[in-house]
Every structure is written in structure tokens, then in C-alpha cells.
Symmetry: C2
Subunit: 316 residues, 2 copies
Amino acid sequence: MADHLPPLAALRALEAAARHGSFTRAAAELNVTQSAISHQIRHLESLWGLALFGRSGRPLTLTANGAALAPVARDFFARLSMTLESLRDDDVSGPLKISTTESFALTWLVPRLSDFNQRHPEIDVWISTTDHRVDFAINDVDLAIRVGDGVYPGLHSSLLLREYVFPVCSTQLVERLGKPQTPADLERYPLLLRNDDNRTTNWDRWLVAAGVPDLPLHHGPRFANSNMALQAAIAGQGVALVRSAHVDGNLSAAGLVRLFDIHCLADLAYYLVHPEGAQTTARIAAFSAWIQAETAQSQQRYDREVAPLTGAGNNP
Amino acid sequence: MADHLPPLAALRALEAAARHGSFTRAAAELNVTQSAISHQIRHLESLWGLALFGRSGRPLTLTANGAALAPVARDFFARLSMTLESLRDDDVSGPLKISTTESFALTWLVPRLSDFNQRHPEIDVWISTTDHRVDFAINDVDLAIRVGDGVYPGLHSSLLLREYVFPVCSTQLVERLGKPQTPADLERYPLLLRNDDNRTTNWDRWLVAAGVPDLPLHHGPRFANSNMALQAAIAGQGVALVRSAHVDGNLSAAGLVRLFDIHCLADLAYYLVHPEGAQTTARIAAFSAWIQAETAQSQQRYDREVAPLTGAGNNP
DNA sequence: GCATATCATGAGTTAATATTCATGTAATTA
DNA sequence: TAATTACATGAATATTAACTCATGATATGC
């Protein structure tokens, strides 16, 4: 941006002139002289070194440059005034309703919520958990944190956390059966899997990363969700594949050990999802800003602690 | 916005301060004193009458207001500099590739293209027509104009034209069979329908609007697309249901007459579709701006000429 | 070609912004 | 409690922006 910020009033002039296709009418709308508009546009043109309007033919025409820049200004003004307006209306009354999965709430969100409450004591957070999609209109939810591929038609989504997966088991199990030396040894250990819709893709991906893609997966019990599999691992029932957020740095506190230094990216990631335009309300913006800062921190830790060897075994 | 535009430099300060959570660090980044930042923020706060930062606790915290406004500034700066950068790179070299349906190209777009060429002689427009969806990555297309419901996951879409449908037939047919007096009379006329995937919803909707929802639709030949049905109508073979853009004001030139003053909104509308972020290139922005202005004009004409009685028979 | 409408431009003025400096104040840490 | 760190603030100033005015230049339409 060359250090020189364009004056906002000049952007306002650009926007109006582009919309009207005429400096004179833009001047009328903004209650200034035509000369003012001409000066402003000229200022922008020299600032950016770009022609914004074609003055040769009489009907003033936007150049391609102008056509690209005018909407930038237009959208900015629109969003700014929308945001200011909704901040003034200020409906801080009700609680902020957040929907997420049970496992994310338990392992990641709830332990950190007190920090958010300290920063924003006036915002009352309600958390509801479902493992299924949420309809914002019907369920009366302000924000959702979902596991998925980030494609949510009609909604705005932003990536919160990419997770790594790696196998763990309890120290007891290691004492009883010995520590597996190579990934291929896992064949002799009970593997704890999820059973919903047969989705074992994370195990498949990890086995590929570990170089033993054909290792059979038929051992061990199956569980309704990954939280239960994790509990079973803690109880020494076998080897579970865990995601970074699930253990989040306190492996040893739970009596678990990580097996091998091989990891891969989980097939799905966490996204923050909300209806378009919802950023404009203060409570939602506050929570969004907070959770994005917090997840960025978590992500840094995972990248450092869980997956320090960049590219080693990653297959995204 | 209360007429007072916030100074852009102050927004820059807000953005940096929000990002760093510190006036001092923001000052360092912007190469000014801490005092400058403090003044700027204070200026914004009094301008908007909103608290942006909480200064009580030592770690400076964004208020909910600040959390809502900072991203507005951040996104604006990001988009502005992205746009400027891509305008400077200026890849005006190749042609602008536009994909649309055959009927829209024939009846609406091509007749108007000379106007675009006059305004932007440096932009070489190539049009390709398919009636199926287009994959931007694979088909090497810059922009698409599609008929649909506006939901295009992963793409940006904006409404271009809502169309009305109403029945027409040739003057010859009227001479031969007489003019139908009421919608119910249509039973005695050959109706020209499309045959693809049995989609006769437009006829169904029009019959509902006309008050004869149960009129049978089994007469007449069927055609591959609505263009062929229209040609058949011009040739006097029966009554066709046309969309506004298809006839676009030159009904009588084609020897057609409109039957009844009853219309309804077409089930689908035209959308301009492109990958997110593509607005930043000059050629695409120029075409977008142009076609949005042109369609807005068409829309006005349709609303005035085709559907002057607002709400009469509309069932959207 | 003349009247008209529209944009360009240079000079000059007023108002607002941007910033620094020198201190003051409040919280944090040792 | 002293030292430190970070934000607040009033005064002062340089710089820029935002206009207006008067006039010049260009294209359009009759």
C-alpha cells in the first residue's frame, strides 16, 4: 500500500462517482462541488498510479481498475455502517448460544471458557452439544464449532484447528504387553476404533504414513465416539488413535504414552461457522476474536509438540 | 455513519492495536509513538461513542465493540492491498472467458456485447455456452452466468435477473384459432413445452397464478430447450411460455402477441458466478460491473413492462 | 457552429488529522 | 515499596485533506 493510505473521503467519492457514472451527480449526492470530486479522484489516481475513469468519450466510464476498486470501497462502507448500527442497537441482553460437539466442548472449550468470561464478564455463554449439524434459524444458535471439511453452503466458516492424529496407549498396557517397537507390531495389540459409519479413515491414513498400509484393523472393541475410545485407552484396554485437541498436552497426566513419532493430519478439521453477516453483533464478534486467538495458540503448540518434524509422514 | 468518516489512519491504528493487544507494539509496527496510537483510538471512540478497549486490567483487552470493528478494518486493508497488487500485475493479456447458457447468450448477452466492447476495447471477450454446470478450475473460465437458485457452494454468486414468465403465440395462430379469452381456453390450443427432466414447473406456476391450476398440459409437441419452443411459437405451432429475457421487448418484431396480463416469477433466476476473490482482477471486475448495471436496467424494464401490476398473480 | 453539459485545473483557504514531547497515572513484578 | 512497564493526556505543531472559486478544455446535440 506504499505507506500512503488513501483518504477515506476520496474513496467515498470514488464509490459515488462509480455508482453514478458521473462526477457531477456524485458531487450532488455528497453535497460538494464537482471540482471536489474531480480533485479526489485525481488524487487517488496519482496515489495509486492507476487510471480509474476513462475521460475520452463523453459518457464518463469506469476503467477496469475503477471497476475493481469501487466495490472494495462500497463493501467497506456498507459493512462499517452495518456494524456500527448493530453495535448501537446493542442486544447484549440474551446469552450467546454456541453449539459444538461433545468432545470439543469437554476437552478444549470448557477448560478455556473461564478466560473468556474474565475478558467479557457481560457476555453469558451457553453451550449446547450435538454431533449433528445445526440449523441456525431453527435451533436459535449464534455460533457453531463443527468438525468437517469447511464447506457449509450459505454459511460463513473459518478454519480454527487442523489436528494431527497419532496412537497412544496407557502405561499399564505397555507394562503388560511391552512397547510396540515398529508400527507393524500394532497387529498384536487391541486397537480401539469408532464404529459410526465405519469411518476408520484416520487409522487408514496413519497406517499409510507409518508405512504399513495393509495392517489389518479387525482387533479390539468399537466405540460410539472417540471420547469413549480414549477412555478405554486410559483404562488400558488397547491402543487408540487420538487427535491433538483430545489430549491437548496432558497425555502423561492421563497415564498415556504416545507410540512412535509418526503422525498425520486428521481427515477433518474444526471450523467456526455462523450465518453471513453475524460478525456484526458485538457478542459474536468478541467470541470469534477470542476463539480464533486461542485456537491459533493451540495450533502452534500442536505443530511444535505433536508434529515437530514438518513433512515427515504428513499426507494431507 | 453520521457524516463523519473515521480517518483511515485511525482505523489502521485500531487494526494493529487489536491484533497486538497492545498500543505500544502497534506503535512500533506503524513507526509512530505510543501516544499517537492512544490519540487515534480515543478519537475513534469519541467519534463513534463506543468503547473499543478495556483499560482496567493491565493486559489491554478489546471490548466486544472493538472485536466487531477491528475485523472490518482488517478485511478492508487486506482486500484493498490485494486488489491494488493484482491490478499492478495486470494480466490483461489473455481473453476474458465467460460461460453461460445458449439461450441467455443468444437473446440477452450477445446483443449487448458491443456496448461492453466499446467501453473496454482492450478486453477480449470469449463466450462459451453449455447448459450444464461449469468447473472453473477445469474449464478455465473466468465468469459464469447460470440459471439456478443461487446456491453455489464454494463460489461467489450474485443475482443478475429475476424473470417473469407469460404465454405468447404468433399472430397467425390468433388468426387461425382465434384469441383465447380466458386462461381456461388454453386447453384448446397446442401448448409448446420443454421436455428435459419433465420440468414444467413454470407452466404449473403460471396456471396457478391464472386461477386454473388443474388445466391439463398434455397437448402439443415438446422441445429440447426453451429456445426451440419459442421458435415453434414464432412459426405458429402453438402457445409457448416465455421468460422476460427471451423476448426482451421485441415481441411484436417476432410476430408474437402476449396472451393475458397474467405473469408470475420464473422458478429460477440468473446469477453471476465466479470463484471467491476473482473480483480483484481488472477484467473480471469490469465485466461484473458492466453486466450488473445492464441487468439492473433490464430488470427495471421487465418490472415495468411485463409485470406492471405488482403483486398481481406473483407467487414467488 | 453554438449552446450546453461535463470534466480539468491552479490558486488559495479552512478545517481536520497526525504526530511528538513531556509528563501523569495506574497496574505488575521483584 | 521501588522499579518497571504500559496507557493517558494536554499543548503545540507540521502536514494533509477537503473544499470552493473561477476559468479552461472537450465533447454532444441541435
